[in-house]
């Protein structure tokens, strides 16, 4: 038993960036790097994993893998894992990865360490760093069993291209249809090209100070200026007021994010919110209340009415961009 097996997630016909990040980390740790990619049309994508260090790429392709259904994907992956016999399995802690990793680990009768933001290697052991309490604390965690199943938060590690040609092998898996009980009736994915908050590089977020749902349009306009890696977020107050869907909520009972830039508009900075975005590289706060706790953590603070600042900021950024 040796080497690392990574689970490469496919979404909207593309390999997710997180897969390249975990492949790069596996390569850095040394030993053979195998990848397992599952999805309808996955075969056409598989070669891309070689660029990030995968020596061997196992492809599970077919119409039954069009939609992610945990039981189907777990069965397929576990068959590949039994062939590869890795000592470490990396997944991305994306929305799908959070569903997949624990089910897969339990099927292999081992534990899992989820949503890690850093991994180091000591001998054969992986030491994983993961946030607790939405980032109010961090733990260094080690797995007891083998393989060591670890899911890593997207954006936490960089992806690095390497020279090398991985061998692609199409695998035929036999599915136990009797165990696949859930059937997908419908999938509705919004036509947006915005990234998920957990994977965005720039987040423009709004709180109670926005005063109403219609004013989030202004934040969307600002986010758009930053390009396709930007999106919008919201505080719990804004979500609970019904101004924004809960999938936008940043904080301890929402999403934990670590973008390069977080612009908080009309957000006071409650402890639960700060926990969820405290690892952003740069925090900008716009709030007319100079006493708002967010100013004690923000790299740049603007004490003024956001309804005047945000439109002016949009104009100024447009000017800079020419």
């Amino acid at each position: 038993m040796a080497g690392t097996l990574i689970y490469a997630e496919v979404q909207k016909g593309e390999i997710k960036k997180g897969a390249f990040e975990i492949a790069s980390k596996a390569k850095e740790f040394g030993g053979e790097v195998s990848a397992c990619i599952i999805g309808k049309g996955a075969e056409a994508l598989a070669g891309q994993l070689a660029k990030y260090g995968a020596d061997k790429i196992y492809v599970v392709d077919g119409p039954e893998f069009e939609n992610y259904v945990p039981e189907t994907f777990v069965q397929a992956f576990v068959q590949v894992a039994k062939t590869v016999q890795p000592s470490v399995i990396f997944c991305s802690a994306s929305a799908q990865g959070k569903d997949f990793a624990p089910a897969m680990a339990a099927r292999l009768n081992v534990g899992a360490i989820s949503d890690c933001v850093g991994v180091t290697k000591e001998g054969d052991k992986i030491i994983a760093k993961r946030p607790l309490y939405a980032g109010k604390a961090y733990a260094m965690v080690e797995a007891v069993g083998s393989p060591q199943v670890i899911s890593i938060r997207p954006n936490a590690l960089g992806a690095k291209e390497v020279a090398g040609a991985g061998a692609v092998e199409k695998v035929a898996v036999s599915l136990d249809a009797g165990k696949i009980k859930a059937t997908v009736k419908a999938v509705e994915v919004a036509a947006t090209t915005e990234p998920d908050q957990t994977e965005a590089e720039i987040i423009v977020s709004g709180g109670r100070g926005l005063k109403g749902p219609e004013n989030f349009k202004m934040l969307e306009d600002l986010a758009k200026l930053f390009g396709p890696t930007a999106t919008t977020g919201a505080s719990r107050a804004a979500v609970d007021a019904g101004w924004r869907g809960h999938s936008y909520q940043v904080g301890q009972t929402g999403k934990t994010v670590s973008p390069n830039l977080y612009i908080a508009c009309g957000i006071s900075g409650a402890i639960q919110h700060m926990a969820g975005m405290g690892t952003a590289k740069v925090i900008v706060a716009i709030n007319k209340d100079a006493e708002a706790p967010i100013f004690t953590k923000a790299d740049y603070g603007v004490v003024d009415d956001l309804f005047n600042v945000v439109p002016a900021l949009i104009d100024e950024i447009k000017k800079i961009k020419g």
């Binding site: 624990p102 680990a105 607790l132 859930a182 999938v187 830039l261 004690t296 104009d315």
Partner: protein, 258 residues
Amino acid sequence: MNTVVCLKQVPDTETLIKIAGTTIATDGIKWVISSFDEFAVEEAIRQKEKMNAGKVTIVSLGPDRAIESVRTALAMGADDAVHINDGAFYDKADPYATAQVLAAAIKGLTYDAVFLGKQAIDDDASQVPAMVGELLGLPVVTQVIKFEAAADKKSATVTREIEGGQMVIDVPLPAVFSAQKGLNEPRYASLPGIMKAKKKPVDVKNAGGLGVSAGPMTVIKEMSLPPARQAGKIIAGDDAKAKAAALAKALHEEVKII
């Protein structure tokens, strides 16, 4: 409809976390039901009320103090509870060991569905629901935001949140469901509910009594606090427009993001 709800008692989200060895200092903490588990409790009670039949059983792993959160769920309308009070397990806070204990306790019960929160808001692992399902040999649907059981209780149609959208799934019962925010609005316990809860049966067990001996599969070696963020600079300017211009300049020249 008979349901089981797994519930974890956690520090209130207001808590300022302090480290004590490989765990946290518990002095002064206000303990509450993990917020996603509240959605699970509420959904189970609603299903019972809707069908006008069945019962809701709470299963919780935790120390003596966890009984307060169990009683809160009973006061909301759950009927009885199993409290696994076993320090060898809850102290180590490992998802797989937790799932094994919960699954062992659930195995002896009669149920059509198991509800859990999508994650506990202390260790944020998001692992236990999928693992409990695996150990019980039942289908699992995580991140549920809408739940509808068929009248014959043989299946359910549920909506789960996926990245950037939703997925509607048909699943036969019994099955395991993890609750996401948006599923419902949890009720507060009423005063009569609180009085009744005191008399509802709670079965206290330990892991050995459930036939579980496996220890944790992951070990916390060290805990730390995130580096404290310092206040940066307040952008000066005569009016909002001038401040916005200075901020845009800083984002362009210092942060280099524009």
